[in-house]
């Protein structure tokens, strides 16, 4: 069973959000993670447009037009949240002050290169703040479908699409698997419930090393 976007968000939230860390969520699929913050821990969500410590969506009658995240979602604030201008925000991101970045992906290579901003068939693309996040955070996570709309693997030997950053990805969460980028190569850590390692390998271009403790995801 391939994971739904919501299950992927829950999985990423559970695995990557730890007490005391600061996390930046990219647009698209990663933006869903903010709806599944683990209870009982303090995680600071950072957004490029200048907010640290935001929380889930407000009720309609609680919306403040000046409080949103970088995906353009209205958000609420945790006690202790702060606002700051964009150049300070990118100072934080590029300067390595943010612990974890979670971005969407078009392609990830076996060396951890990320392409996520332009499809060559389209003449124009939008980069937003993704290049800063990819370069700046201590740990970069990519969340994406395992294959693209045409059925092609998105985890590739070498990215064909223009890059966002070189060698930046540490772990990939897809609807089928959890894969780590290591010096030895791509390591298959977990498979989605009912999905076999062979099925994941058949949908992945580079060779996958099966982890010694490879297991099926517990959801």
């Amino acid at each position: 069973m391939a994971l739904t976007r919501e299950l992927m968000a829950i999985k990423v939230s559970r695995e990557e959000l730890h007490d005391g860390i600061t996390v930046n969520l990219g647009a698209g699929m990663p933006a869903l993670v903010y709806n599944y913050l683990p209870p009982d821990i303090e995680v600071l969500l950072q957004a490029e447009n200048g907010v640290l410590g935001y929380n889930g969506a407000p009720e309609l009658d609680e919306i403040d037009r000046d409080v949103m995240n970088a995906s353009g979602f209205y958000v609420t604030l945790l006690p202790g949240a702060s606002f700051f201008p964009s150049h300070v925000s990118f100072h934080m991101i590029t300067g390595g002050h943010v612990d974890v970045g979670i971005l969407g992906g078009l392609q990830v290579s076996e060396l951890g290169d990320l392409a996520n901003w332009i499809v060559p068939e389209r003449r124009f693309g939008s980069i937003g703040g993704a290049m800063n996040v990819a370069v700046g955070v201590k740990r970069l996570i990519v969340m994406m479908e395992h294959i693209d709309h045409a059925g092609r693997p998105k985890i590739v030997k070498e990215c064909i699409y223009p890059l966002t950053a070189v060698g930046c990805v540490k772990r990939i969460y897809t609807d089928l698997a959890v894969i780590d980028v290591t010096i030895e190569g791509l390591v298959l850590r977990e498979t989605a419930p009912g999905v076999t390692p062979e099925q994941v390998e058949a949908r992945t271009e580079p060779k996958l090393i099966r982890a010694a403790d490879l297991k099926e995801m517990e959801l």
Partner: protein, 256 residues
């Protein structure tokens, strides 16, 4: 006596010339100088080079009248899954038709180009863009074994920004998350024009909490509309539940 207050938005933008480089603060649905942009639209200034984090959104009136010829931006286009609300973006149509051009710039690099430009630094090295098309044709230099790309700073002829409160000296404070690009952009223009919600007496702003000191500000206009409103950038389609809190969806937040 220092008094930077201008009577109307039209007066405040009266000398913005054809071909000007104009920086616009704002992000998605907040922090745009909506009424100054409307005044610029009325004035009809042509061949604008716009420095702004995204096309569409607050710049829509200028795109619709084809006043912006070039954008230096991180979001010129918005491609979204077919089942999601789509963004109304005439700038994309103009790009595809060859009527407009774009210089794509990572968001953090763009805001730093203005912040550095405002401070008199002509260029800076950044790790952002190394190994990507952004670095094409730019100098790469190694510091402590790591590669960096040389980016040139930017300055604008005019900057249109939005603040919450100002005094007549031009001291500004921004409301919550609406400061975004306004703070950096306010520093890097020959003429910085600010639209504010409220003008207060000198001394009313707590000096410890002034965000933009008045030295960066040339003209202040109190907003003219009852409720500044960025026009909708999403088309009216059935919305998936996950996007019900987007700020620019008309169904949820009707224009008042």
């Amino acid at each position: 006596m220092i008094d930077k207050v201008i009577a109307s938005c039209d007066e405040a933008v009266a000398d913005i010339f054809d071909g000007a480089i104009i920086a616009f603060g704002g992000f998605v649905g907040t922090g745009y100088a909506v009424n100054l942009i409307e005044a610029l639209h009325r004035k009809g200034t042509k061949n604008i080079t716009a420095i702004c984090t995204m096309a569409a959104a607050g710049l829509l009136p200028l795109h619709e009248a084809k006043q912006i010829r070039k954008m230096i931006t991180s979001f010129p286009v918005f491609y979204r899954p077919e089942n999601m609300p789509q963004v109304y973006n005439p700038f994309e149509e103009q790009l595809l038709a060859g009527e407009a051009e774009v210089e794509i710039c990572p968001q953090g690099t763009m805001v730093m180009k203005m912040w550095m430009g405002g401070g008199g630094y002509p260029a800076f090295y950044t790790p952002v863009g190394v190994g990507t098309p952004i670095a094409n044709g730019k100098e790469i230099r190694v510091f402590d074994g790591k590669e960096y790309v040389l980016e040139q700073s930017l300055r604008a002829d005019f900057t249109l920004i939005k603040a919450w409160k100002a005094d007549r000296w031009g001291n500004l404070i921004y409301r919550k998350g609406a400061s975004n690009f306004n703070v950096a952009f306010s520093t890097a223009a020959n003429v910085t024009i600010v639209e504010v919600d409220e003008l207060v007496e000198l001394g009313e702003l707590d000096p410890s909490f002034v965000h933009t000191p008045g030295i960066y500000v040339d003209r202040i206009v109190v907003k003219e509309a009852k409720y500044p409103e960025v026009k909708l950038i999403w088309t009216e389609k059935e919305l998936p539940s996950e996007v019900t809190h987007l700020p620019h969806v008309g169904k949820i937040e009707p224009v008042t």
